[in-house]
């Protein structure tokens, strides 16, 4: 049993987690849910005894207050830190990893148990393969069974499923469940995926370094019921997202069933957080849905590895196209070809009926595309304003016009108060909006967004999707978006699914739901399509 009492972790003057308290019983799976920087990792590190903390932690009623005091409990704790196969050595085989982890833990070889672990992870056939040559999902499964090798009583998994393909994700959960049933271990598992809450006995919701709610997921969801209404409407002191509207005041609207995400919205309302309403001006009356970009049998080969194999795709005005696929499925390579960053090894790429062939064509291509990369290509030592001016001049937008536009976007996208701040000082969500503003300064016809929502908190994510929708509706832009949150596929008009460099599905979200009427959510559809 583990008990955490008023634990805080401080980085210089900022709290990673503040005054966290909770209990976990033997055989219980407790989930830590929240965005990047919400404090999940800090708390897990404190419990694992790998970071200094304030407060007290009790392991089976024995207290520890520092990493040093935690030392004697480390043989009962198994920590798997965040990152795909972070604890693996690329130049060592699976077998050698087993030898190493067994020896550093000072335990005897238990062939039966080790084989069981390997079987659970489906890795028994690959024992001589170097860790560096394993796929992301396999690496993560290997890390997990290595963490289990010394039979920990307390299993601490920091975002084990982030960046892992949905199939491997299910397998990881199977391993955890089996260990819980057979060995009665306690597991603390953090995740950024709300849907995984249903696999946990209890969840704690994290926001900005605090636990905002904890308990059984369905009970927690019930607490949001009084504030959740159906439909998306604009009212004072309300926030609406994904066919629901949240308000602390009574509204004259039909009630809706909340979900875990609802809790974050309710919390934001209760804390009177500033929520901006994004609304763009309708530019010109333009509702054509012509095809702006067309890829035919686009192929990219690295050595003898085919990253993208004859992929067809059409992108239309006023359409949000989701490009889905696990890590290594060829999403990023595909986008880079569309962007003109990679030469095309086969196939044809057409933008506005003009085939892209030469270097000059590619330059032309770039001037019509807006691109927001995963890590936002902003300059940290320039303020928001300077960044925007820089990008404007890069696109040769006349100064006066640029200034006018920057002002307008800053107001519309709600970052005018931050114009003279540095990107590093701003929350992820604001950086994201201002990156989009940068990307649309030159009026592109196509906007590419590469994993724009990874790590962003629920509210910022909802605002992001509203913005994307506005861009589509008001500016009639063609938008291509990649994401590994399957739930976000629901907000797209159409999805293209890649698997190992091949397109396995290209359909509207509506049609897919019709095709699999019994699927609970898009994640299930995705898994079925992949299989």
């Amino acid at each position: 049993m583990i008990e955490v009492k008023n634990v805080s972790v401080k980085y210089k003057n900022i709290y990673g987690i503040k005054n966290a308290s909770f209990k976990a019983q033997d055989g219980e799976i407790v989930g830590l849910i929240g965005a990047d920087g919400a404090g999940k990792s800090s708390l897990l590190h404190a419990i694992s005894g790998v970071i200094s903390f304030e407060g007290e932690i009790l392991y089976n009623n024995e207290p520890y207050h520092s990493p040093k005091e935690a030392e004697k409990f480390k043989k009962y704790i198994g920590l798997m830190p965040q990152g795909l196969g972070l604890v693996l050595y690329d130049f060592m085989s699976i077998k050698e990893h087993f030898d190493f982890f067994r020896d550093i833990r000072g335990i005897k070889k238990d062939i039966e148990y080790e084989n069981r672990l390997l079987n659970m992870a489906g890795l028994e056939k690959f024992q001589n393969r170097l860790a560096g040559n394993l796929s992301g999902g396999m690496r993560q499964k290997l890390s997990l069974i290595l963490t289990l090798l010394h039979r920990p009583k307390l299993l601490i998994l920091d975002e084990p499923t982030t960046g892992v393909d949905p199939v491997s994700r299910l397998e990881l959960w199977d391993i955890v469940n089996e260990m819980r049933e057979q060995d009665n271990i306690t597991a603390l598992i953090s995740t950024a995926y709300m849907q995984e809450a249903e696999k946990m006995d209890r969840v704690m919701l994290f926001d900005e370094g605090e636990i905002i709610a904890s308990g059984k997921a369905d009970e927690l969801i019930k607490t949001a019921e009084p504030y959740t209404y159906s439909g998306e409407l604009k009212y004072e002191n309300c926030v609406s997202f994904n066919k629901r509207t949240y308000s602390l005041n009574k509204l004259d609207l039909p009630k809706a069933k909340p979900d875990l995400e609802s809790l974050f919205f309710v919390n934001a309302l209760q804390k009177k957080k500033e929520l901006i309403n994004i609304e763009l001006k309708k530019e010109k009356e333009n509702s054509s849905n012509e095809v702006v970009m067309k890829a035919e049998k686009l192929t990219k080969v690295f050595g003898n590895f085919v990253a993208d194999d004859k992929i067809d795709m059409e992108l239309r005005r006023g359409e949000i196209l989701g490009l889905l696929g696990a890590n290594g499925a060829g999403k990023t390579t595909f986008i880079k070809m569309l962007l003109g960053l990679y030469p095309i090894d086969g196939g044809k790429l057409t933008l506005l009926d003009k085939e892209i062939k030469s270097y000059k064509d590619r330059l032309e291509l770039k001037s019509k595309i807006g691109y927001v990369s995963q890590r936002f290509a902003l300059y940290d030592d320039m303020t928001v304003r300077e960044n925007m001016n820089y990008f404007a001049s890069m696109h040769k937008i006349p100064l006066l016009e640029a200034n006018k536009k920057i002002k307008e976007y800053a107001k519309l996208l709600g970052f005018e108060n931050y114009m003279d701040k540095f990107p590093k000082e701003l929350p992820l969500g604001i950086n994201q909006r201002f990156s989009i503003a940068v990307a649309i300064l030159h009026d592109p016809v196509v906007l590419f967004l590469d994993e724009p929502t990874s790590g962003v908190d629920t509210i910022a994510r909802s605002q992001f999707w509203k913005l994307v929708k506005e861009l589509k509706e008001k500016m009639n832009m063609a938008i291509l978006i990649t994401t590994h949150y399957m739930s976000e596929a629901e907000y797209c008009d159409r999805v293209v699914l890649l698997k190992a460099g091949k397109k396995i599905s290209d359909n509207t979200v509506e049609n897919l739901h019709k095709k699999f009427p019994d699927a609970k959510n898009f994640e299930e559809i995705f898994i079925r399509l992949i299989k």
């Binding site: 990493p67 972070l86 050698e96 550093i104």
Partner: protein, 369 residues
């Protein structure tokens, strides 16, 4: 302390070093340093273009010419031209040295009248000029006077005496470069082995398991120590057979001092690894803090005894000087264990190494920052 834990870690380090080919660096880097510096810093000047103006035409002057002609340091030409013509040639960069033997040199020499020999040296590169000047004085006094009763007093050369450049330059430089190489390379390897785990994230295996700090340190420092112990021999063979150095002292002193010196270097690497968290920073920091003292305060470029007060103190605060003293002794002098300075310096190095490792392990924390 559990031997099996340490063994497992060391085995992993070796696997990683072999398979990531970092091992190449362990042996190539010191060799590169020794070759580049050993050949690169040449203070020795050979084949200086020399013109002798023999206005005496005596037996003595022929002896002198002979001495110049039979030395690899000069390409000697005897010309029948005037002083001014010769100086003009120097201005045109056609000669480096002019030796002017005046008429009646021999006569006056035997009459004990202190005859003068005029020596002109091209001073375009001051260090080179001083070196050449040293050679000329040496040649005149030592070589030319074998058969002729010339002493230093009897010849008055119009020059100031300058510091006496060693006639064999590589001898003076190579031992110092070994000291430099073995200061840089083990430090880099030790720093990288720890920082690499921090950068990749595998350091969590140490943080989150019951491995103690001592076990971790032994496991991390043993591989670089063992691997670089081989360099002790490789560099010795290189010095003896490629650079042709003599080995006059005690092998065991050389061995012991070098192994201790490697520990000092590992200590520096450990300290760097505590302070940095990326491999690139660790590499740059290690190179900066080892190469500068390893070079400037080692006595390679300037003897410690002729340093200014500040640099004299600085040199004594750094480990390089002590090692270099011992290693010069083993190669060139040979007083070995009987010299009390050698023993004192060996002791200082030992304490230095232990202190650095203790300091490093004190700062090494088994947790995230």
């Amino acid at each position: 302390m559990r031997i099996n834990v340490i063994k497992a870690y060391i085995k992993k380090e070796f696997l990683d070093l072999f398979r990531s080919k970092m091992l190449v660096m362990v042996y190539v880097m010191p060799l590169m340093i020794v070759f580049l510096f050993g050949y690169g810093i040449k203070m020795e000047v050979t084949h200086s273009r020399t013109i002798v103006l023999d206005n005496d035409n005596s037996k003595t002057s022929l002896e002198i010419i002979n001495a110049f002609e039979h030395s690899k340091y000069y390409d000697t030409k005897v010309l029948n031209i005037t002083d001014n013509q010769a100086l003009k040639m120097m201005k045109q960069n056609k000669t480096d040295i002019i030796i002017d033997i005046p008429a009646g040199f021999e006569k006056r020499l035997f009459k004990n009248q202190k005859p003068e020999i005029g020596v002109f040296i091209d001073g375009a590169f001051p260090i080179r000029a001083t070196t050449m000047q040293g050679y000329v004085i040496n040649t005149l006094i030592n070589k030319a006077s074998v058969n002729i009763p010339i002493t230093k007093n009897m010849i008055k050369i119009n020059q100031r005496t300058l510091f006496n450049q060693s006639m064999k330059d590589t001898w003076a430089i190579v031992p110092g470069i070994i000291g430099l190489a073995l200061l840089i390379a083990p430090a880099i390897l030790a720093a990288l082995l720890i920082v690499k785990e921090k950068e990749i994230g595998t350091i969590f295996n140490f943080y989150s398991s019951p491995i103690t700090k001592t076990e971790f340190l032994i496991a991390k420092l043993t591989p670089p120590f063992l691997l670089h112990s081989l360099n002790v021999f490789i560099l010795l063979l290189l010095a003896l057979y490629i650079f042709g150095l003599p080995f006059r002292g005690s092998f065991w002193l050389y061995f012991l001092a070098t192994e201790i010196y490697i520990i000092v270097s590992l200590g520096i690497g450990l300290l760097v690894s505590v302070m940095t968290s990326s491999q690139v920073t660790a590499l740059v920091v290690t190179i900066l803090i080892t190469i500068i003292p390893g070079f400037l305060y080692s006595g390679i470029l300037m003897p410690i005894s002729s340093m200014d007060k500040e640099s004299y103190i600085e040199a004594h605060l750094l480990p390089v000087m002590y090692y270099n003293h011992i290693i010069y002794d083993t190669f060139l002098i040979g007083s070995g264990f009987s010299s009390s300075i050698n023993l004192l310096y060996l002791g200082i190095l030992f304490i230095y190494g232990i202190a650095l490792i203790l300091l490093g392990s004190l700062f090494l924390k088994k947790r995230l920052k």
